[in-house]
């Protein structure tokens, strides 16, 4: 309990508080009048309104499209399921800049749809919504589907025998059991889309702007720190409200679930309806998730004189590119992997301890901490990164030149995933199993290791996968604190995209493809480990 608390106080609360303080203080005096001035600005109100409704629309659309997908992944057994499950998670970890470009290439001017049917979506909000669904499909499938696969189908069968129709049984038995997971997933999607940055900046053009984009503009373009600070506070307050709402709904619905081995609940589809559902899901995945990625890969090979691995070959040397890098672009891959691995370990330790503590204890303070853990998701990554720079650069915490700064910032974003993934499963573990272990002589720590850990190993692996993937893809904070000679993949991609020229663009696409392959590989490996262990059942 103490370790996670200290971690968040030092690496989150302190930097964010000091950057807000800087914006709102003038010569040691608090200038709270600025809040009112910014809040009555019609432009700001417009941004606020757009931020809110696009997030709501994106969340609704994601749930609508992804919940059937979660069902398919939880209950159906079909060839290539493991591969597909890993594939679905790939978009989530791609740098927003790359996704924005990929969607632009798909639905923008001169894009694939424009070429074929003259359809362009880049000026409408649909492009943003679709990109958000692209990003968050995996959140719903993994969070909801993971639990769904472990629900005992006999519960629903019991309801059917008692006279409930297929849909009624689902609504009365499965849906309430899934409630906390659906709420958790919806909350995550809402948070991500509410604070959406890269996608909106590229696809929104001058018309659409979210709070996060506005914060970035005020900070980086206009150097208007006071306005940025007020906007950060607004976003912070909104996120805090959302988290409180979430904590309330979850607590109301929390119940001990009977979990079973997911391998036993999945069956081959049976009957026309189930096959149709499976195929619909596959088509959705192909159109929505695979197509943009395919365009990305296609571009990475499309040199000036036909297809070829030109861009990949040039990645290995620092000399071919102009002065963008002091190192070869490919070194960014090794940096990313090392940072990601360390960040994952930090996130697992901090998040695992926090989740274990939250399962054991009740009380107002602990519940507050539960919500606090989610905050890094809602607070602008730009603010966190900038805050790291201005606070951790002097004693006692002079980490500015330290290698640890990047993994620490990335772990901060990973911890909420770890907690969110593990908490529902940990809370669903039957308390009497713990009592049985205690009676047999296991100390509380042994109980956690012997009872909880094996039961949540799957959730732990999923959490590790997410933490690693998020670390690999993290951009907003890393871009501020990564040292020029130690760029991560997303930072390198952004730098390349920022330069004109065919070679730079092609290299960016090539690096993005590598990032995508690495993430897919990591997720696929986790799926493999999980299968081996579930053989123990």
């Amino acid at each position: 309990m103490a370790l996670p608390f200290a971690f968040f106080a030092l690496f989150f609360a302190y930097p964010v508080a000091s950057i807000v303080g800087r914006g709102l203080k003038d010569g040691g005096q608090w200038q709270l009048g600025r809040i009112g001035a910014v809040l009555t600005d019609p432009d700001v109100l417009h941004v606020l309104w757009f931020t809110f409704w696009q997030a709501a629309a994106s969340t609704g659309l994601t749930l609508l499209i992804a919940l059937p997908g979660a069902y398919v992944f939880a209950r159906f057994d079909f060839p290539g399921k493991q591969l597909l499950r890993a594939l679905v998670a790939v978009p989530f970890v791609l740098p927003t800049v790359v996704v924005g470009s990929a969607f632009l290439a798909l639905v923008g001017r001169g894009g694939l749809l424009d070429d074929l049917w003259g359809v362009r979506l880049d000026t409408s909000v649909w492009a943003i919504l679709l990109a958000h669904v692209f990003f968050n499909y995996a959140v719903v499938v993994r969070t909801v589907g993971g639990l769904w696969g472990q629900l005992d189908p006999r519960q629903e069968e019991a309801a059917r025998v008692l006279g409930a129709g297929r849909f009624a049984a689902w609504r009365r038995v499965t849906l309430p059991a899934l409630g906390p997971a659906v709420a958790a997933a919806a909350l995550m999607v809402f948070l991500f889309t509410f604070t959406s940055f890269g996608v909106v900046q590229i696809l929104g053009g001058p018309t659409f702007s979210t709070l996060e984009v506005e914060i970035y503009r005020q900070t980086a373009d206009f150097l208007d720190l006071p306005t940025a600070a007020v906007l950060t506070l607004i976003q912070f307050t909104a996120v805090l409200g959302l988290l409180a709402l979430h904590a309330w709904t979850v607590r109301r619905r929390e119940s001990a679930l009977k979990l079973v081995d997911p391998a036993q609940t999945a069956r081959r589809p049976h009957g026309r309806g189930q096959w149709a559902l499976l195929w619909t899901t596959l088509v959705v995945i192909v159109l929505l998730l695979v197509l943009p990625l395919a365009v990305l890969v296609e571009r990475s090979f499309a040199g000036t004189d036909g297809y070829g691995p030109v861009f990949y070959e040039t990645l290995q040397s620092a000399a071919t590119a102009d002065s963008t890098f002091a190192v070869a672009p490919l070194d960014a891959l090794w940096n990313s992997l090392a940072f990601g691995a360390v960040a994952t370990v930090i996130a697992l330790v901090v998040g695992g301890l926090a989740a274990a503590a939250l399962t054991r204890r009740g009380g107002r303070l602990v519940r507050g901490f539960d919500a606090l853990l989610m905050l890094p998701l809602g607070v602008s990554a730009v603010t966190v990164g900038f805050g790291f720079l201005i606070t951790l650069d002097r004693p006692p915490f002079d980490l500015r030149s330290s290698w640890w700064l990047v993994p620490l910032a990335q772990a901060l974003v990973g911890v909420p995933f770890v907690v969110r993934t593990m908490l529902p499963v940990l809370r669903a573990v039957d308390g009497r199993l713990r009592e049985a272990a205690a009676v047999l002589g296991a100390s509380p720590w042994r109980v956690w290791r012997e009872v909880d850990l094996p039961l949540v190993r799957r959730a732990l692996l999923v959490a590790a996968g997410f933490a690693f993937a998020v670390s690999l893809g993290e951009f907003g904070a890393t871009v501020f604190i990564a040292r020029p000679d130690h760029p991560t993949l997303p930072v390198a991609v952004a730098r390349l995209l920022g330069r004109a020229g065919e070679l730079n663009y092609g290299q960016a696409m090539a690096l993005s493809t590598i990032l995508m392959v690495v993430c897919a590989g990591a997720l696929l490996a986790l799926e493999r480990i999980r299968t081996d262990h579930s053989g123990e059942f």
């Binding site: 081995d261 039957d430 009497r432 199993l433 009592e435 049985a436 272990a437 205690a438 009676v439 047999l440 002589g441 296991a442 100390s443 509380p444 042994r446 109980v447 012997e450 009872v451 094996p454 039961l455 123990e536 059942f537």
Partner: protein, 356 residues
């Protein structure tokens, strides 16, 4: 003849005034000032309907349930502040609670691992215990593949493995079918006798309790209604609650005068030394004798139920409550027939005032 008679063995467990309240402080407690002692090598069975506080009692001894008042002593040592895992007691849960992610050997060896037993000793003990519970060579089997009876045996082996000084069983046979249950009760009693295990079990089934226990403790609403050997409790139920819980319904208002009592069923003989005055009487069905019609108390047969070894009759006398009687199949009258009944003195029991 108190319940503690003949216990020369040292006292292993003592509960003193243990009280547990759930929810509001003024509500009815789950355990109300319970005093109980268990001697070493004794098998004590707590018997009572659901909600009488039996399981709470076990949880208190295991340290899984905080008490609001009272003390728990194991081998004379106060256990307040001793966490569950240091109490050295075993508890077999009602629904077994086997660890689903471990195989049979992993479950049985769990308590040994917690005590740091060497791997060779673990394997040896696991093999011996699985033999003992009748599941030889089941080490590698998955828990999910076990039948209810097998799970029960594995749970027992798991609870026995660390050699707990006190083994507690919570409704140990609850989910098993009758044949298996009756066989296991006999097996367990033999096993516990061989091992010298001290056992505190709870059940709602009097048959199980009587077959398993050296001493039975009947609980009612968080209090102990009666303790005694199975025979004592069966022959002399202390209160109307105990009598009715054991299935005896021939309870009637009476006024004792000398060696007889005046009841709605006429004059009944009572045991010597019964004090004069109003009381309630129980006549066990075996003590109701059928007579040819002009003799005895005239009754009509209201119902007859075939019970295998005997026929249970429900008789309606001219006045007073119905009377239950048991008789052999060849002698059993048909429903609606008129019979006369008489009562045997040795089957008449004077009940204490109800505990309410």
């Amino acid at each position: 003849m108190t319940a503690h008679a003949g216990t020369t063995a040292p006292e292993l467990l003592r509960l003193g005034g243990v009280t547990v309240r759930f929810g509001k402080a003024d509500g009815r407690p789950a355990l109300d000032a319970v005093d109980l002692a268990v001697a070493a090598h004794e098998i004590v069975c707590v018997l009572g309907p659901s909600g009488s506080g039996k399981s709470t009692l076990l949880r208190v001894v295991a340290g899984l349930q905080q008490t609001d008042a009272g003390r728990v002593l194991l081998e004379g040592r106060d256990q307040s502040g001793v966490p569950t895992h240091r109490r050295g007691v075993g508890l077999m849960f009602q629904d077994h609670q086997l660890f689903p992610q471990r195989d049979v050997a992993g479950n049985v060896a769990f308590g040994l691992r917690m005590r740091g037993t060497s791997r060779a000793d673990q394997e040896h003990t696991v093999a011996r215990l699985l033999d003992l519970v009748g599941l030889p060579d089941a080490q590698g089997r998955a828990v999910a593949s076990l039948s209810g009876g097998e799970q029960q045996r594995v749970a027992l082996a798991r609870a026995l493995a660390p050699r707990p000084r006190l083994l507690m069983l919570d409704e140990p046979f609850g989910q098993l079918d009758r044949g298996l249950r009756e066989r296991l009760v006999v097996e367990l009693r033999e096993l516990f006798g061989e091992l010298g295990t001290t056992v505190l079990a709870v059940t709602h089934d009097q048959g199980e309790a009587f077959a398993l226990a050296d001493r039975v403790v009947v609980m009612q609403d968080g209090r102990i209604a009666q303790t005694g050997t199975p025979l004592e409790v069966w022959q002399r139920p202390a209160t109307e609650f105990v009598a009715r819980f054991l299935g005896f319904d021939n309870v009637v208002e009476a006024t004792v005068q000398g060696d007889t009592a005046v009841t709605p069923w006429g004059k009944l003989p009572v045991p010597d030394g019964t004090p004069d005055g109003p009381c309630r009487l129980l006549v066990r069905p075996a003590g109701v004798r059928l007579l040819p019609t002009p003799e005895g108390l005239p009754c009509t047969v209201a119902a007859r139920t075939f019970r295998g070894t005997h026929v249970a009759l429900l008789l309606q006398p001219a006045g007073g409550p119905q009377v239950e009687a048991a008789c052999a199949l060849p002698d059993a009258p048909e429903t609606g027939e008129k019979v006369g009944i008489a009562f045997a003195a040795q089957d008449v029991v004077v009940l204490e005032a109800a505990a309410e």
